[in-house]
């Protein structure tokens, strides 16, 4: 028993031995043990154990404080030396810091961008359990994905599958909202009340649970509230939608964050949408975004398997499969593959490259200059510094430098953030409080940069033998060709990366030019379009005739979709010689007279829709791809049908790009449906002199005929450009960062060249004295670098 009492707690003792390295540790441990025995003989076991622990804590605390004080002294010395070195070589330091901070600033900007991209839709509390319902349709010719589905699917999912806790539907809706004399086109939607349970869109006014007391309620965002009501209380006020119906404001929610794929400024109850929809019971009309909330820890694969066949009993004409897509993937991944995640990867790689180039700069300049610090290393070694001390010193120094650069780079970032924002079309901010991980990331970046760029000089310098250094046998010239070869390799790598980036950016901008100047198969210049609702559609003929009175207007037409993006596609087509079980999906646009003429689409065979043929309401015009798909030898005149509508093919148009240029041109059917046109397109003669005058004229005509709707016109080519705006942006960002990379590498090369020239001053002097001309000397100096850069070219 006595032996037991004599032993102090083992863990405490181990800690003591482990961490009190610098003093007489065993003597210390034994002393404590001796005292412990005295304590145990007087107090209880628990008390003495506590006492021992208390002693150990005190010892360790005071030891660490002591150690820290001495470390600080050394640290101060390192710090002074580092600062002195910076001051002594101002030019070098400037180049070094400028290069590194430019690289880091570029990196930070890109990281902010990447972080913003990755943050999409993650602000919802339930983000990880939320999914969007997607419909996959397998046709004979292709597989189609529908991110929107029919109205009954949402409730059916919720009712039939216990794993699905809740479902909410969202129907996008553009409407003209009017209050007093304020009226604007707004983007909004119809939603189920559960929408507010699934998604986190906090209410500022009103209540989440009673958001929609009746079908004529409307919830608006703060932005909308301010736009229409200023500082007045919007609750209970009336907004007129599309000049027809009054809705009462029942709630105000916070503005939708920019990193949400759902965008809206007002929300109305889905019940109301069911009232105005043409066929709310139909299972075949895909138009509703449907989201579901899964119960936590539900396996998504299992749910996908269960729900896959939900639509099969209702849609027999085509093979379908329902599945769930995670909410957080919607922004980054397209259903067909690819998506923004590609840009995230590309930009991350660019950021890494730019940073790497900056680091290589740093390494080169530091090692190049290391000869000037060799004496210091020798002194330190002689006075007892170990290799590890020197490694620490040099790495510490480069971390210090990288933090200085970090400081400058943050200044740079805050200066250029607005420019970058307009470039990238985002609203990025550096917000310390909410973006702790960004800050940590940036600091981590600085440390990482410091470590990487300091590692090479640190390891080389610290491994030198003091005897050699101090005897002077390690003169700069004899410092070893190995090192300068390494430096050259680094320069080559650096320039190879830059050149690869340049090539990439040239390719990217070529491609963008290609998109811009591609012959689309239709004429997008000088075409003005307006969106048209049913009220306007009823007056289409009078509008058209009035517009055509202007001699500068050549054609007016209407269509259900703009030719830049025809999104609607259907199945159920039939033609002569079709294999019975073949289910083919084709794009379809409903158009008015003179659609083909207005857009200058080439008619290969047959004719366009015309007033002279009253039966055109049942006839079809196909594009070349559609003809190819059907395999018809002489399409014009042959029988064709869509569902129960039978008619003949009256014309064939040449393929034109009615969807993104990234897609192959698909089969397209044009049908004549004047009552279903959502847009009116006006072609202005290309020789019209006074474009703005013509537009003003149009506006006057418009306001006479449909005064209740504003004349909000767009040019078709602008709309087209808007489709590729994100790509243009990416291309521009890419170019700028390539330029930065090149700039940084040139800076590094400049620094290196300047240093070498300085070192060879004497040599140059002697050469001059011996009669060398200036050009020869320049040649001599330039030669080496030209070789390096051209080598890099070859590699790239």
């Amino acid at each position: 028993m006595k032996g037991m009492r004599g032993k102090p707690p083992r863990l405490a003792e181990w800690l003591l031995i482990r961490f009190s390295s610098r003093v007489e540790k065993y003597s210390l441990v034994d002393d404590l043990r001796e005292e412990y025995e005295i304590v145990t003989s007087e107090h209880s076991r628990i008390a003495s154990i506590l006492w021992y622990w208390w002693q150990v804590t005190r010892v360790l605390l005071s030891l660490s404080a002591h150690l820290l004080r001495w470390r600080m002294v050394m640290l101060k010395n390192y710090y002074t030396i580092a600062l002195r070195n910076l001051k002594k070589h101002k030019g070098f330091s400037t180049i070094n810091i400028a290069g590194l901070s430019t690289g880091m600033a570029a990196c930070i900007l890109i990281l902010l961008w990447v972080q913003d991209e990755l943050s999409f839709d993650r602000f919802h509390v339930n983000a990880h359990d939320l999914y969007r319902v997607v419909l996959e349709e397998q046709y004979a010719n292709r597989v189609g994905y529908w991110p929107v589905i029919s109205i009954p699917v949402g409730p059916a999912l919720k009712a039939n599958f216990p794993e699905i806790e809740d479902a909410a539907r969202f129907r996008m809706y553009f409407a003209l909202i009017q209050q007093g004399n304020r009226r604007f086109d707004e983007r909004g939607g119809f939603v189920d009340p559960s929408f507010f349970d699934l998604f986190t869109f906090p209410f500022v006014k009103g209540d989440r649970k009673t958001a929609f007391p009746d079908p004529y309620s409307i919830v608006i965002t703060e932005r909308t509230a301010e736009k229409y009501f200023g500082h007045e209380d919007p609750l209970g006020r009336i907004l007129k939608i599309n000049n027809e119906t009054d809705y009462r404001v029942t709630g105000v929610i916070q503005n939708v964050p920019r990193n949400s794929h759902l965008r809206f400024d007002f929300l109305m109850p889905f019940d109301r949408y069911i009232q105005i929809d043409r066929a709310p019971e139909s299972w075949g009309r895909n138009q509703i975004d449907t989201y579901v909330l899964l119960q936590g820890n539900t396996s998504i694969e299992e749910v996908n398997q269960k729900i896959a066949g939900l639509l099969r009993p209702h849609l027999t004409r085509v093979e379908t499969r329902l599945f769930l897509q995670p909410l957080t993937r919607i922004h980054l991944y397209n259903l067909t593959g690819g998506g923004n995640i590609r840009y995230v990867y590309i930009f991350s790689i660019i950021a890494a490259f730019v940073l790497l180039i900056a680091c290589i700069n740093f390494m080169n300049l530091t090692t190049a200059r290391s000869s000037t610090r060799i004496k210091e290393v020798g002194m330190r070694k002689v006075t007892g510094a170990q290799k590890s001390h020197l490694v620490k010193q040099f790495i510490g120094e480069s971390i210090l430098l990288s933090f200085i650069s970090l400081f400058f780079s943050i200044i740079l970032v805050s200066v250029f953030l607005p420019t970058f924002n307009s470039l990238s079309g985002k609203q990025l901010t550096i917000d310390i409080s909410s973006q702790m991980h960004v800050i940590l990331g940036i600091v981590g970046l600085a440390i990482f940069t410091g470590l990487i760029s300091g590692s090479y000089p640190a390891l080389i310098l610290s491994s030198l033998r003091p005897v050699h250094i101090l005897r002077g046998s390690l003169l700069p010239g004899s410092l070893g060709t190995k090192r300068s070869i390494f430096r050259k390799v680094l320069v080559v790598i650096q320039f190879s990366i830059s050149i690869v980036l340049i090539i990439c950016s040239v390719v990217v901008s070529r491609q963008l030019d290609f998109i811009k100047n591609r012959d689309l198969g239709y004429n997008k210049e000088q075409v003005v379009f307006l969106s048209m609702n049913e009220a306007m559609n009823r007056r289409y003929d009078s509008i058209k005739n009035a517009l055509l009175k202007d001699s500068n207007v050549s054609y007016v037409t209407g269509s259900s979709m703009l030719p830049t993006e025809i999104a609607t596609s259907y199945v159920g087509f039939d033609w002569e010689g079709k294999e019975p079980d073949q289910s083919v999906q084709m794009y379809l646009a409903r158009v008015h007279y003179e659609f083909i003429e207005t857009l200058d689409i080439k008619l290969i065979q047959g004719r366009s829709f015309s007033k002279d043929y009253p039966t055109d309401g049942r006839n079809f015009i196909l594009n070349e791809s559609a003809v190819k798909l059907t395999g018809l030898r002489s399409p014009v005149g042959s029988r064709f049908s869509w569902g129960d509508e039978e008619g003949t093919i009256i014309g064939v148009v040449e393929d034109f790009h009615f969807r993104s240029l990234h897609e192959q041109i698909g089969p397209l059917i044009l049908v004549f449906r004047p009552e279903r046109c959502g847009y009116i397109c006006i072609q202005i003669k290309s020789n019209a002199v006074d474009l703005s005058g013509t537009i003003n004229q149009m506006e006057t005509t418009w306001n006479q005929l449909v005064p209740e709707f504003p004349f909000e016109y767009h040019f078709l080519d602008e709309d087209f450009d808007a489709m590729y705006r994100s790509e243009q942006r990416i291309g521009r960002i890419f170019r700028y960062f390539t330029f930065l990379a090149v700039f940084v590498s040139c800076l590094g090369l400049f620094g290196l060249a300047a240093f070498i020239a300085e070192r060879r001053t004497k040599e140059i002097g002697i050469r001059k004295v011996l009669g060398a001309s200036v050009t020869r000397i320049v040649k001599l100096l330039v030669k080496e670098f030209v070789i390096l850069v051209s080598l890099a070219n070859i590699f790239a």
Binding site: R22, V23, D30, D31, Q55, R58, V59
Partner: protein, 111 residues
């Protein structure tokens, strides 16, 4: 000549008083009894190590002790340099306190 800090002075004087018995536990307890301050071993050994390094103290190893697992106790003695340093500290004290018989700080405050 090495200037001593107050802690070092206390430590040296304690060792001086303890003579041959001056090792860790004894020094610590002596300081506690005489000054009321409870030093921890961390502080104690750091200061001791420093003084040894400055050659103010000498280390001397005692006999192997069975209760210490066969390890020796380490005793400390003051070196001639240490004596000089202590004398200097005493001189300094004397000079500074010369003529002050009783400490009445309150008087100084009034003027």
């Amino acid at each position: 000549m090495v200037d001593l800090t107050k802690n070092e002075e206390i430590l040296l004087l304690s060792i001086w008083r303890l003579k041959e018995k001056a090792y860790g536990v004894q020094i610590k307890n002596f300081i506690k009894e005489n000054t009321g301050k409870d030093w921890n071993y961390g502080t104690l050994y750091c200061t001791l190590d420093q003084l040894v390094r400055k050659a103010i103290l000498f280390k001397r190893e005692g006999k192997p002790m069975p209760e210490r697992g066969g390890r020796r106790k380490i005793f400390y003695t003051i070196s001639p340099d240490g004596i000089k340093a202590l004398q200097a500290a005493l001189e300094l004290q004397k000079v500074l306190w010369d003529g002050i018989t009783s400490l009445a700080l309150g008087e100084g405050m009034q003027s």
